[in-house]
Amino acid sequence: MAEKKDKRISESRAWAYVLLGGLLEIVWASGFKYEAIPSIVVLVSLIVSFDLIIKATKVLPVGTAYAVFAGMGTLGTTVVEIVLSGGVSVLRIVLILTLLAFIIGLKLSSKGGES
């Protein structure tokens, strides 16, 4: 396999990719629900966010990068819903945060036996 490898990006650049990818994740996920966000914006942010996270995880520990990514998406969509549909019940926020805590726990404990 004579595939050419991507040039290795720096760690701080990879973290910038995770943050930008996380923001774009909020955009496309919100676009799935709210028609105010144009389809082209949803499609482009979806593709770019995937591309960024895949590039970032070539440099960063996968579990940590995905934990940050999932955290941004979850908190971001909660904020978007509060703003656009006028509130989320406290019980639902608590359950979403509990779910997020377990997701982060599971992602961060993933290195164990990889490879």
Binding site: M1, E3, A29, S30, F32, K33, Y34, L46, I54, A70, G73, T74, T77, T78, V80, E81, L84, S85, V88, S89, L91, R92, L95, I96, T98, L99, L100, A101, F102, I103, G105, L106, K107, S109, S110, K111, G112, G113, E114
Partner: protein, 104 residues
């Protein structure tokens, strides 16, 4: 019904993630089809589920099921850690999803 679609969307996301791993290993057309078909069908079902399920709940459950599925696949096929912390987190995610279903 929407919840069935949402759970199916989460599981299909896992198919897409497996596709990513397979393509990284062997970049042939078959593995690329698994990757693309997994994600496209997952996104379509997520959009359908979101017609009735609120954004934050749908997104969190979709990501949660995707995470659990990827972890289980990793434990079975890719020799990832099976520590009790990970099992506890998986149970915690399932518990939270059930809770979100109940309050919805």
């Amino acid at each position: 019904m929407s919840w069935m679609l949402l759970i199916a969307a989460g599981l299909l996301e896992v198919v897409g993630v497996i596709g990513i791993k397979l393509v990284a290993r062997n970049n042939n057309w078959f593995n690329n089809i698994i990757l693309i078909a997994g994600f496209i069908s997952s996104f379509q079902l997520l959009v359908r589920a979101m017609e009735t399920i609120p954004l934050a709940t749908a997104y969190a459950v979709w990501t949660g099921i995707g995470t659990v599925g990827a972890a289980v696949v990793g434990m079975i096929f890719f020799k990832e850690s099976k520590s009790w912390i990970r099992i506890g987190c998986i149970l915690g995610i399932i518990f939270s999803v059930v809770g979100l279903k109940i309050v919805s």
